[in-house]
């Protein structure tokens, strides 16, 4: 088992008000699966994704990654885990505005113990049909191109799991389809994909859909 969540609870406190976003989530994901976590806004799907991606910690419960409880790991170990094992694709792309397309893709290599070369970044951009945009700056790209650069960045350290948070949220249908096909291909290559979306059309690309409502899994 690659990912196993046991009774994950997540609470946020704003002033005196405490909100429980995840209410005892149990979830298992096998290596090589393409799982879509679907739910409406505020359902807790993104919170779950960020806990799975080790960007957030659960308030209660256990999160086992390859059988190892990650909630006991220190901050530096989690950073190395994110760098080596995970790739992130965000709705807002998060491309660094002062770096070229190529350099944006290379950012994760700065924090890698065995950094990939510039050639690897170029090869990824070629694979994602961005070879003619290598020296472009992010503000010179279309939304679809930006997201493909973000995918290339997520792939540079050859991660086993890709976490995608509403990756098509800011794209038109044509570009959204394109991005989903890329994720589908990556899954076919053997990578585990965890996608968060509220759009059933996008969720349809997944091999399994997990529905979440009010912080609880409805069907897995």
């Amino acid at each position: 088992m690659l990912i196993e969540c046991q009774n994950i609870v997540k609470r946020f406190k704003t002033g005196d008000i405490e909100t429980t976003v995840l209410k005892g989530v149990d979830l298992r994901i096998e290596e090589g699966e393409f799982v879509a976590v679907m739910g409406s806004s505020g359902s807790g799907k993104s919170t779950l994704l960020y806990i799975l991606g080790c960007l957030d910690r659960p308030t209660f419960g256990r999160y086992l990654l390859e059988g190892k409880d990650v909630s006991t790991l220190d901050d530096d170990t989690l950073s190395h885990l994110r760098n080596e094992m995970f790739g992130f694709v965000f709705q807002a792309f998060y491309l660094v505005p002062y770096l070229s397309v190529l350099d944006n893709v290379r950012i994760p290599t700065l924090y890698s113990k065995t950094p990939k070369s510039k050639k690897d970044a170029v090869a990824l951009l070629e694979k994602l049909q961005l070879e003619d945009r290598i020296d472009f700056m992010p503000d010179q790209l279309s939304g679809g191109q930006k997201q493909r650069v973000a995918i290339a960045r997520a792939l540079i350290n050859d991660p086993r799991i890709i976490f995608a948070d509403e990756p098509t949220g800011q794209l038109d249908s044509e570009n959204a389809k394109n991005v989903m096909e890329i994720l589908e291909n990556l899954n076919e290559e053997g990578r585990t994909i965890v996608l968060v979306t509220h759009d059933p059309m996008m969720a349809a690309y997944a091999t399994r859909i997990v529905r979440i409502k009010d912080g609880q899994i409805l069907s897995a």
Binding site: D75, D76, R82, I107
Partner: protein, 397 residues
């Protein structure tokens, strides 16, 4: 990878160049003042050495005081031949020379000018390090025969002889013709900033006979001490002799110690003033830099979150921000040193301090600006490193 790291870092500073420049400006200002202070202190030391070597480290120069009237025509010459003779009897004195100075009208052809004419005893020219370039200096026959001969500086040659060799030609000094027998090598400017090449010298007997009848009143007395160990005692004996007949304001004593003291006081007061200015500028620049980095943290919080998501550890974020501050510090040290050298070039001549470019000041500047930048950036760097990656990602402006 190091190259990409540096490229990433510099690209950030250039992208937010407005704020980077603002942070840089304070450091440049502080460092420029610091470099200027180092140059002014070194220049003053150099000036003291030059004056002392001109005077001779074994020399005591006693000069009639100008008082409040700075005019060679009306110097109240209180030093007398009696002082000269008495000083000559002090034990430990190797030689004593005296000389006269008076401003006279010097003319040739249709051109005339008021110039300093000096009466020298035998050996005084050599004593003050004058070297002959054309012709010769005075010989004993010139002293014996009241010869109407002069030795002149290069400015005189340029003004009266169009720069051509004037040996054997005449100058009218107070309507009396004098023959030029020698021209000394260029001496440049005096410590007071006046040209030392616009002087005319003649033997003392000639001077007394044709220029100043009241020969008992002297402009200056130069004493050479036989052994350095005797120097302080001789100075004290000279003071004793002079104080019997003169008030302290009537003369002043120039010794290497007095020159060093005066110039070190000048550079110390300059250093104090600029030191305060420099430290204030560096303190303010540190404050500005710290606030700019705090603003950067707000603006780039999402980017810090992204880097954390992509695998950067807290320590790597901390180091990154301290390195950004270091790059600003090094650039500030470099530009500040250049600005300091530019101010040295244009301001030190106004203060009559020799221009020196102390290269070691770049090292001092770098250390100071690094210290300021690292202290200033420490708190923002800690803040950035402590950011929760997810919180930071959500703070995209």
């Amino acid at each position: 990878m190091a190259r990409f790291y540096l490229h990433d870092l510099i690209a950030f500073l250039l992208f937010y160049r407005g704020r980077s420049m603002f942070a840089l400006a304070g450091i440049v200002l502080g460092i420029a003042s610091l470099v200027f202070i180092v140059a002014a202190i070194e220049g003053s030391r150099l000036k003291a050495d030059r004056i002392i070597s001109m005077l001779g480290s074994d020399t005591i120069l006693i000069r009639s005081s100008f008082g409040s009237r700075i005019s060679f025509r009306h110097i109240p010459m209180k030093l007398t031949m009696e002082h000269y003779q008495k000083i000559g009897t002090i034990e430990g004195v190797r030689s004593v020379d005296y000389f006269y100075v008076k401003k006279m009208t010097v003319a040739r052809g249709g051109f005339s000018k008021h110039l300093m004419v000096e009466g020298f005893t035998p050996g005084t020219l050599e004593h003050f390090g004058y070297e002959s370039e054309w012709g010769r200096f005075f010989q004993s026959k010139d002293f014996k025969n009241f010869a109407k001969v002069v030795v002149a500086g290069h400015d005189i040659v340029d003004e009266f002889f169009s720069g051509k060799n004037p040996i054997g030609k005449t100058l009218l000094i107070g309507k009396i013709p004098f023959r030029v027998i020698g021209v000394y090598k260029r001496k440049g400017k005096s410590p007071r900033g006046t040209s030392m090449d616009e002087r005319i010298m003649m033997p003392v007997p000639t001077y007394r006979k044709f220029i100043q009848a009241e020969y008992r009143k002297l402009f200056a007395i130069a004493v050479k001490v036989s052994q350095k160990d005797n120097y302080d005692r001789v100075v004290s004996d000279v003071k004793n002799i002079l104080s019997r007949t003169l008030k302290p304001d009537d003369y002043f004593l120039i010794t290497p110690e007095v020159i060093r003291k005066f110039l070190s006081m000048l550079s110390a007061s300059l250093g104090l003033f600029l030191g305060i200015a420099s430290l204030t500028a560096l303190f303010v620049s540190g404050f500005v830099l710290s606030n700019i980095f705090l603003i950067n943290n707000r603006i780039r919080a999402w980017e810090i979150g992204l880097r954390r998501a992509l695998g950067a550890t807290r320590r790597q974020i901390l180091v990154r921000i301290l390195l950004e501050a270091s790059v600003i510090a090094i650039a500030g040290a470099f530009l500040g040193t250049l600005a300091g050298f530019a101010s040295v070039k244009y301001i030190l001549p106004l203060l009559e301090i020799p221009v020196v470019y102390p290269l070691e000041s770049f090292l001092v500047a770098t250390l100071f600006s690094m210290a300021v930048a690292l202290i200033a950036a420490w708190s923002p760097a800690k803040e950035a490193a402590a950011m929760d990656p997810l919180e930071a990602l959500r703070r995209r402006l």
